[in-house]
Structure formats: C-alpha cells, structure tokens
C-alpha cells in the first residue's frame, strides 16, 4: 500500500511509531501529484516548499515525542481560505495574484498542530457553482471518470482526496459545496453547523450560509479534522461558543434504537432511478443495524432552491462589492475616472457565473423588489427551519440522497444556469436552516460512479451524524473503493 493512499488515522500510527517520516510521506504525495495531476487538475497552486518545511518541522516534533493527530499529515486546502504569504485566488481571475496577508483561523489552528499544506485546490469561482467548471484556472476532472465533473464548488479538494493527491482536505459549503463533490467523488464530506467553525479568513460568498468543513477518505478522519477546526473565535462574531466535544468518541457508539427520518419530499421526480434504489438499500442496511426508520415531512423542501438563489446572490452581491480594483485584486488598465475603473475592473475580472449572481442579488435587493424577493425568501427560510425543528423532534437524524444524480458530464449544464442550480436541491436546505450534514459513499451506479448518502442532524449534533455514518460505513465498506487512474488518458474533444 502506497503512503499517499492511506488515511489520517492510519498514517498517524505509522508516524508516531516512527515507521515513516512526514518528509517521506509528503514526498510520496507529491510523487502521486506528479504522476496524475495532468489528468485531474485538482490544484491551482502547489506549495511544495512550504510543505517540505512543515514536514521537516513535524518530523522534529515527532522525534521529541510530540505527535498530535494531524502532525505531519499532508492536507489540501480549498483556494478560498487565506494562508499567509501564499496566493489565494478563490478560482477567480480578479484574485489571480492575491497574496493573503494573514492566516484564516482554521489555517492557524492546523499550523499549530503541525499539519502539512500540499497546495490550494481548484473551485468554482468564488465558490459559485456545482461542477468546478466556472474556475478561472480550468476544469477539474472526476477521478472516477475523467469526462465528468467532480462536483462543486469544492471539486478540487474532492478530486485531490479521491485521487490520493493528499490525505484529506478542507472545503467550504454554502449550498452543498462540500457534500455534493464528496458524493460525486466517493468521499466523506461534512458541513458543520453554522457557527461551529470560524469563518475568519474564509473569503466570503454568502455570510449567513458559509461553513468550512472536512473532506476525507473515511468517517474517522472527518471526526479527527473536526476536533481541530471547530470552536469559538472572537474574530468571527457569528461563531458560537459551544464546547467542542471529542468527535472521535462518537465513533463506535451503539446505534441500535436510534431513529432515522426519511423525508418523502426528497424522493421526487428528477431523482435518478439508480440513486433512489441505492439510497433505499442504504436505508435498509441501517434498519439492519437496529435503527428505527420512520417517515418525516419537510413540506417546504420544493421552495429551498428558489430561497437559496435569492439569499445567496443577495449576500454575494454585497460581499463582492469589495472587488473594486483599489486595494487588491485586478485593476483594469484603461478607464478614465474612478467609476470607470470600478466597472472595467469588475467586468474584466469576474467570470460569467459570478456576474450573473451579482446581477441577481443586486436586483433582489434593489428598490421596489426587496419585499417581493429578498424579504419573501427570508420568510420562507423561516418555514424551512421550522420544518427541520419539527422533524428533529421526531427523529435523531434525517437521511436523504446527497445529489439527485451521480456526477454529470463536463459541459452538460453550463448553458442552463437553472438546471445547474437544481443539482443542489438536496443540500441547500441544511445551509438555510444552519444545521449539520454529512455525505458518505453508499454505492455505485451501473457506470461505476459513486453515489452519496446525506445524513442531516440538528444544530450542534455532529456527533450523531458521525455515529450513524461510522456505523453504516463499517458495515458496508464502500469507502474502501478507489478510482483506477491507471486507465489511459481520456480521449476527447474538450467541451
């Protein structure tokens, strides 16, 4: 078994027994990147020098007996989290040359634990997308089928973990951007409760929805990363001061007698037949573990996409006003005065999807339309939250498909924004309600594409998510399957 294919907890054993060094491990990861990155394009920037320095430091600490759960572990970081003195692009041309002047809080925490940063992963521009196709830095390919998208917006992180180009990764999730790519690439992806992880240093997309979370090869690794990234931060006034438990303690807890709610509104027209069958089999397997299965109702589910695509662009249009070509980012060469400079810099710097959302958000907030759109959406958001409150009074967790289809073909939805938006239909409600969600692998389509199972829990109930996810994972072992990247390079006609 190659080092790069192992998990955080397996490598921790090897590192702490000093059977391997972090430097060997990190080199193994870079060798893997060298051999397959050309096919996958998971990274925007590789930080080899930084990684080797960190690995050396980690090895020194290990030799002094200081081995934490992440010491010396090579991680990939979505290019939306600031790492001091490292380029941070958000997948956008407007930030092509932006060097972050400080560390995000999660980055500071990981540095403090002697983790190793391999590189910055590709993403949809400003995390706006479900396929990683809107990145300024080119598309990322799904390691399971190079003609398909890896999901998005954290598609680079998902592809990197799935192709063993890192041991684990961080992503961010505003409407499903951790869970949907995790499903597309056969991984574990966890969106924590809103407020659980500090957003300081996470470049803002939609501030009331964004959360940072782990993307990993198994559930235990997700628990390990959660232990390190969660917690209150005075620099993020929306982070919540709730004690962080040891999430690994939730693994292996008895699930017999727990109850899983199945919302009938998620098994609808448009749900791929194979996804439906696979998810229903997973629910049967849970029943076999002694979990009670019951039907619950989330009656406002069908409105979630509309609510989200009003609220998220509204917040984005405000957050992205900062890109004006003055203090950082792209500035247009031409332009007579200040106003011209703003307009040209923004119009040349942003990609089409980002402009579409800024337009949508600006419209929804503009005079005369605020009540009909933004306020209305915020009211329906309350109804969606209430639905979950009621459902969670009847069950411990809720189980649904993560995405309505397995990974789709590159180019398939690029001309139809609404069709693309509907790929987030099952993940968006959790962001609107602020609750926690995880996607874990639950089988494969007849084309060999991974299918994801989503488990949702009420706010600050991540332990329940991990408990159920782990029990299912250990029972089924889907997570052990790996894509075969030795296959000949894709033969094709780029989209």
């Amino acid at each position: 078994m190659e080092l790069h294919s192992l998990t955080i907890h397996q490598l921790h054993q090897l590192l702490s027994k000093r059977e391997v060094s972090s430097q060997e491990l990190t080199e193994s990861v870079f060798k893997r990147i060298e051999s397959i990155e050309e096919k996958v394009n998971a990274y925007i920037t590789l930080t080899h020098e930084l990684a080797m320095e960190q690995a050396k430091q980690a090895d020194e600490n290990i030799s002094q007996g200081k081995t934490d759960s992440l010491t010396g572990i090579p991680l990939a970081i979505k290019d939306v989290l600031c790492i001091k003195a490292v380029r941070t692009t958000c997948g956008s041309g407007i930030l092509e040359n932006f060097i972050a002047p400080y560390d995000a809080t999660v980055i500071k925490k990981l540095k403090g634990k002697d983790a190793v940063f391999v590189g910055r992963t590709n993403m949809d521009e400003f995390a706006m997308g479900s396929s990683t196709e809107t990145s300024y830095f080119g598309i990322t390919r799904n390691p399971w089928d190079l003609e398909r998208i890896p999901g998005g917006s954290s598609g680079g992180s998902a592809a990197a973990v799935s192709a063993d180009e890192c041991i684990a990764a961080l992503g961010s999730d505003t409407g499903g951007s951790i869970r949907q790519p995790a499903a597309c690439c056969g991984l574990v992806g966890l969106k924590p409760t809103y407020g659980r992880v500090s957003r300081f240093g996470l470049v803002a997309f939609a501030s009331s929805l964004d959360q940072i979370g782990p993307m990993t090869k198994d559930v235990k690794d997700a628990a390990i990363l959660m232990n390190e990234i969660c917690g209150y931060d005075p620099l993020d006034s929306t982070s919540v001061n709730v004690k962080v438990p040891d999430y690994t303690q939730a693994l292996g807890r008895e699930v017999k007698g727990m109850s899983v709610g199945i919302p009938k509104e998620y098994f609808i027209e448009g749900l791929d037949r194979e996804v439906e069958v696979t998810v229903k089999e997973a629910i049967k397997a849970m029943e076999g573990l002694g979990i009670d299965i019951k039907e619950v109702s989330l009656p406002h589910t069908e409105y979630a996409v509309a609510v989200y695509y009003l609220i998220a662009p509204a917040e984005a249009s405000s957050n992205l006003a900062r890109y004006d070509g003055v203090r950082y980012g792209y500035r247009a060469k031409k332009g007579a005065g200040l106003l011209d400079m703003y307009k040209l810099s923004r119009s040349e710097g942003f990609g089409t999807e980002v402009k579409r959302r800024i337009m949508l958000g600006t419209y929804a907030l503009s005079a005369g339309y605020y009540d009909a759109y933004y306020k209305k959406a915020s009211q329906v958001r309350t109804l969606i939250r209430n639905d979950f409150e009621k459902a969670f009074s009847e069950c411990d967790v809720i189980v649904t498909p993560t995405a309505p289809t397995p990974a789709f073909k590159i180019g398939e939805k690029m001309d139809d924004p609404l069709k693309m938006y509907l790929s987030d239909i099952f993940t968006i409600p959790a962001n609107l309600a602020g609750i926690a969600g995880i996607s874990i692998p639950c089988g494969f389509s007849s084309h060999g594409l991974p299918i994801g199972l989503q488990i949702l829990a009420n706010s600050f109930q991540e332990e329940k998510l991990l408990q159920v996810a782990h029990a299912y994972e250990q029972h089924t072992k889907w997570h052990l399957k790996k894509p075969d990247l030795t296959l000949p390079k894709y033969s094709h006609h780029s989209p």
């Binding site: 200040l338 703003y342 307009k343 923004r346």
Partner: protein, 95 residues
C-alpha cells in the same frame, strides 16, 4: 417578462458592471428564466412569518474598541494594483 433590457442595464449600473450587446441579451433571457422559477414562492402565504436572516439567532456582539497593530503592512501593500509612499493610489476623483 419579469425584467427587461432597460432594467438589466440599471441593475448593472448599480452593481458597477458593464456588458456588451451579446451579454446583455443573455442576461435578459437567463434572469427572466430564473425569476420565473422564483414565482413559486408567491404561492406561500408569509404574512405572519418573521424573516430569518441568520441561521443562529444572535444579537449584537460587542468587543472592546481597542487598537491592535497589524505587523504586515508591506504584505497588504504587495497586493495594491497601484501605490505610492505606502498609500493606495487611485485615478483622480475630483477635477
């Protein structure tokens, strides 16, 4: 039609964006399709419903208004598209 060309141009102006003919046409078409889809929200009676602007209910979070030094001024200025004597430089604002 929910939004016409004139309105799209107005919104672009508010958002400090500008588009060529083809882009304008595309946005008029696409924004209309999306806004049509949003119409489904009007089916729900929300007259008695409080809006949610944040998932976690919280009020003003205060901290002391204390000055903290930021030690990496140079790193900040590295990113400036144009600078002079430690300041950001912009085109002339007042004639």
């Amino acid at each position: 039609m929910k939004i016409d060309r004139k309105e799209v141009e107005h919104v672009a102006q508010l958002a400090r964006l500008q588009f060529d003919e083809a882009q304008l046409e595309m946005f008029v078409h696409q924004l209309n399709t999306i806004l049509e889809y949003f119409e489904k929200l009007q089916k729900i009676n929300t007259s008695e419903i409080e809006p949610t602007s944040h998932a976690v209910v919280m009020n003003n979070i205060f901290r002391d208004d204390a000055v903290e030094d930021f030690s990496d001024k140079d790193l900040l200025l590295t990113n400036a598209p144009s600078k002079e004597k430690g300041c950001f430089k912009v085109p002339k604002v007042i004639e």
